[in-house]
Point group: C2
Chain length 429, copies 2
Amino acid sequence: MTVPESVSMPQGQGDSARIVTEMAGKARRAQRELAAMTSAARASALCEAARALRQARDAVLDANRQDVADARSQGLSDALLDRLAIDETRLEAIASAVEQVAALPDPLGTVIDASERPNGLRLSRVRVPIGTIGIIYESRPNVTADAAALCVRSGNAALLRGGSEAARTNRAILAAFQGGLAAGGVPAEAVQLIPTQDRAAVSAMLAAAGLIDMIIPRGGRGLVERVQADARVPVLAHLDGVCHTFVHADADPEMARAIAVNAKLRRPGICGAMETLLIDSGFARAADLVGALIDGGCELRGDGRAQALDPRIGRAHEGDWDTEYLDAVLSVAIVDGIEPALAHIAAHSSGHTDAIVTADEAAAERFLAEVDSAIVMHNASSQFADGGEFGLGAEIGIATGRLHARGPVALEGLTTYKWLVRGNGQARP
Amino acid sequence: MTVPESVSMPQGQGDSARIVTEMAGKARRAQRELAAMTSAARASALCEAARALRQARDAVLDANRQDVADARSQGLSDALLDRLAIDETRLEAIASAVEQVAALPDPLGTVIDASERPNGLRLSRVRVPIGTIGIIYESRPNVTADAAALCVRSGNAALLRGGSEAARTNRAILAAFQGGLAAGGVPAEAVQLIPTQDRAAVSAMLAAAGLIDMIIPRGGRGLVERVQADARVPVLAHLDGVCHTFVHADADPEMARAIAVNAKLRRPGICGAMETLLIDSGFARAADLVGALIDGGCELRGDGRAQALDPRIGRAHEGDWDTEYLDAVLSVAIVDGIEPALAHIAAHSSGHTDAIVTADEAAAERFLAEVDSAIVMHNASSQFADGGEFGLGAEIGIATGRLHARGPVALEGLTTYKWLVRGNGQARP
């Protein structure tokens, strides 16, 4: 399979708007066809897409080698190069993830609730696709296939805008994916790639109210903040993960140690990693707890009382309590019971995931009730904040906003509902 | 009771931002207290608010007389004066509506779904308040109490911004309402009125991302469009209601006539009123159908084939197919079966409410499945598009967007959810 050269794009703002408008129009028409298909047909087209990805192995790996070579010559960091690179194993993982999405239960048509009115009208709310989803993402080319698969499974069209450093790889993946979809009877325009040469296209996507129904930014804070600031289209976004773990006076010391070490150090760079540890002054084994973290390779920054626990603990500065380190660094504070713990979390949590460790059920239930975050945990590591771990099968992201969907977002979050009203001639009095 | 004079406000943009920030901060603190109260306590505080509204009768009616006198001297239309005016009957209706909201089932704490993972983690999603809701509305002062009651019932704080022509009335209603809340143990800052003298305050509200969690504009198209264009806060809005009724070849003629006349003429000015009638060319009694509408006082604008049905039908112009008349005017087109009817609706519907009249169940189910509007009806008048008629008890509005909530929005639409995760020491492998 050859990678199609993407059309060379004029650079003006008006042209970008025109291009996005045209692509969104095609997406809308394709989405209507997609939504009218059976669930089995959508799933089968995704299996064709997975097959096509495997068949396109040489084209994808070749395109990726060129992207990686260019990126290296432009001095991209090793971490970014690693995100960008695709080998046979990774391509197989991408194809296999598409098959897993194909196998997920179809959210469309699910009846959310139903009722019958005294006048005989029968009402129900059923899940339907949102429509056209714009996805704006950075380096990792696996997002191209992941996001496209989740959108197609849930009956949505996808307009994908990946990073320019992955442009060839994304085009190769998308060409294979579209070929598979078409073989499965899904119009290829259901998933389209917005050309990266056109730098104004992102602005045109963000302005495309009525053409694009939702935008999901996936990437660093800079990207997400720009999308949130500029979008005229509703945005489903993940911002910060300043996650807290509160070790209550009645926590089992061994459980507290195991959870804290896992929450911080299993993978310090994921959004569900603990960033602040709050230790109840009534918890007797605080020195052991911080010692285990330090011995595990973590840098601790404490308030005065925390520093007194271990001479290796540095001084926390004001901004530290609001910092998502995404690294083996942790803020630690001593609090006198659950009340100040709740107050600290209310003041500093980013609303992602916060956890309590305690054997006191009443304290746990109070914490679960009063902490106003997307995910609130009792006696578990915050690293479980993940769509796969939650049994959703896959996730398009974790939402830290409050509307539409919160926490891990998978197929259900890519749907909305409509009201069906069945009557037998009712006129309103 | 005296109506408090609202503090005189400095006019600068920076001052408006400061004022909105301060009020939102108080709202946030009050909302946390409100959310921690029991459902019974919130309901009881609303009953106190209803009582206080009745007790404040003289103050409210006096304030309203002044507002109406000013509005009349400024030349407001009779229709707007009627919306603004409050008499004893209307005040009683306002108080009684607050009691009805108090009696609605509490959405908070409802478990949406729950599961247990193989590792023993127990997950559930429970409904929680959204937080602080900004409501920006025009003339009708009953919105002040209605919106405040819906927000309090669902555990949200409300920042209300009414029209300047109703400023005294809104202040009198809010003062009574706050007094009642406080008597019931709810902090008065849970509902606040943004001063109307400060014209930049609306812009400050729209910009208050992170301080206000959702904005609901209630008013004419100009207001809603401005809010949608400028808001950095998520918006739940009602835009157009270009509602269609398709009379299929197999419609019962008498049912079709009764539904069409009701859908257009019961109250032509509501958003659920039919604006376009599509008649299947196979429907034998089309002339009777249009005749009944014309005889009922409706002006019809048709395509060429519709005009051939009755000499009293005028010529529809291109824009008519996208026009929400909100008046006794109707566009009429003849279509050859369900396929072109669906295509017309896909091209021209505003996504509010569309209906089919037919005795053919297969045609009805196809219409229900393929029309992508918030509400799709079979054999019923589109005038039923209303939260009360849907059994929701009350509505804060009808949403024509696609995310978060769609169609009539009541208490559930004022909630979001959080994930609760209960473990017994799980660390993620």
